[in-house]
Structure formats: C-alpha cells, structure tokens
Symmetry: C2
C-alpha cells in the first residue's frame, strides 16, 4: 500500500536523514545534485563548493529537496521539501545564524568533507571555498509504501490493465511465454 504522510510526520522522518537530492532550476530547466544536510524545525543546512548549483540558486532561490529510504520496491519512504535557498555568508551580521545553525551539524561525523573534494576539470582544480547555506522549508510532504499482502491485493493496479498494455505492444504472442 502507498500512503501520503502529513507534514509533521514527514519532518520527523527527514530529521533522521542526512543525504538526499536537491533540485534547482534556471529558465524552466531543473538540475539535480546529491547533497548532505542537517535539519531543524524550519531549515535544512548544508555546505557546498561554489559551482553550478550555487550559481543557479543565487539566481533563483526556489528549490526542492527529496530524501528517501528504499528498502525494496515494495517498501520505501520518500520525503519532498519545497523551499527557498539562503546563503549564510561569513560576515558579522550572519555570525549569530551560523553559530546557531552549527548546533544541528554533526561535527564529529564530518560528512561534508567528501563532497568538498576538488574537481579535476580540464586539468585545472576548481577553487576550494566551501559555502554554508540553508533551505527554508516552505512545504514538506511524504509518501510511503508498506508491504501488506492484504491491502496490496486490493490497491494494486488490476493485473489485467498492465497485461493489456503489454499485449498491445507485442507482435508475436509467443514472446510472452518465454
């Protein structure tokens, strides 16, 4: 069975996650990158090198973050956040926010380091200045699939529907029996 999760429950699940994908968009073209993050009640926090995603988010701060736990194709949870990108620059007026945000970052487990390695691009190393940012959580929702033989039988697409679609593709009826 697949069910939708409320915002409270979705946030609770997201708090236990630290890896996901962030999408930003420019001129209607979305772009996805894997990110590590930490979560409090209103924000996701992360570090990033300067690059395409930062340039795009500076131009358009509307983003989406998706994080999931996939145990199997019948057992998974997916949380989706619609949010707004905010940079936390290393300037005196942002020190308070940066200090407070750091409480949510797992210092011992320096998860952002691997994502901060330099990229060898056309033989040149890209600059290594990590930026600190947060995503203001504007909307959060979730979906979950739970294996349940009783409800699955009732809730799955009727087998006939897909069989009919597949049959309509196949010129040789014997292919199906192989």
């Amino acid at each position: 069975m697949e069910e939708e999760l409320g915002s409270e429950q979705s946030l609770e699940i997201l708090r236990g996650m630290s890896f996901g994908r962030l999408a930003c968009a420019r001129g209607g073209q979305p772009y996805i990158v894997p990110i590590n993050f930490a979560v409090d009640d209103h924000y996701l926090y992360g570090f990033s090198m300067m690059g395409k995603k930062i340039a795009w988010m500076r131009a358009n701060p509307l983003v989406c973050v998706e994080a999931d736990q996939v145990i199997s194709s019948h057992q998974w949870t997916s949380i989706v956040v619609s949010g707004k990108y905010e940079e936390l620059p290393d300037t005196p007026e942002w020190q308070g926010v940066r200090t407070s945000a750091l409480r949510f970052l797992p210092v011992k487990n320096k998860w952002w380091e691997p994502w901060s390695t330099t990229v060898l691009q056309r033989g040149a190393h890209r600059p290594l200045t990590p930026l600190f940012y947060r995503i203001h959580i504007v909307e959060i929702s979730g979906r979950r699939a739970i294996p349940d033989s009783h409800t699955r039988t009732r809730d799955r697409v009727e087998p006939g529907v897909l069989q009919k679609i597949l049959k309509s593709f196949r010129p040789e009826p014997t292919t199906q029996d192989r």
Copy 2:
C-alpha cells in the same frame, strides 16, 4: 578523488541503472520524484500514474534525471541527464514508438508495478491509468568519487580551511577537544 565523466561513459553507467530521481519545474519551482526507468541510446523510458509530475511535465517538458550509486561517502557515482519529456500515448500513430520502446523495458522484472499502486488520498482512490513516457537525453554528464589515499591527500580541502570555519563558530575553544 572526485572526477567528471564524459557523456559516453556516463551513458554506459546509466544503462546499468534503473532507479533514480526526476525533477520537473513550474514557475521556477522544481519538484523531485523517485522513478524507475530503462535506457536506450537517446531516451529514458518510464511508466507513471497521472499526477503532479505528469501535469507539470505536460506544461514544461524540460526535466532532469539523476541516478547514483552510493557505496560510501568516499565512493559514489552520480549521473545527471538534462532532457525533454515526451508522452507516448496509446494511439495508432505512437504504436511504432511504443512497441520499439518496450524492447528496453524489463518485462519479467515488472519494476513499474509497485510505483503504480493507487494512492489513498483523503479517503479516495486516485485513477489507475498508467502513462507511458520517455525523456529525450539532451545532455548527460557524470561525477565519480574514488577512494584513493594518495590522491585524496592531495585533492581534499586543506584541513585548515574547514577547521578555521568551524573555529569561527565556536565560542568555547574546549568544545573542539571533546
């Protein structure tokens, strides 16, 4: 070490994958959903129920698909496709494309079924008509991190950089020693 992959190599890796995330966008707001897919030389193919992502992609066909293999935070591969959504409707003029596309879909492993379950939304079941679509691969790129103690030492962010950032947050210098 982290390195960028060429389009040929990225496509080769993507061919071995069947699960990823698709982002579409509306009015500058991106939206991510997990998808199952099959790949040929020019397209990704998938099935989907009618819903938010289909409505958005009909309005704006520009999409991004990301698929990754994360073994650890030091060992991962991420492939990113910028593409264009195309629906493959069940009409006579699309039969040829649908039939040919099905060759790339693993029929025995009916991976699309779990994602086709009905959603219980406010007590009502949503319609169960699966749509067949493809994503025209306009651009494909990849990034990969390989654990390599020799190059990692050279390529990682200098430890001093992150230490300096972390130090600037911390009012009590003893916190670091705990």
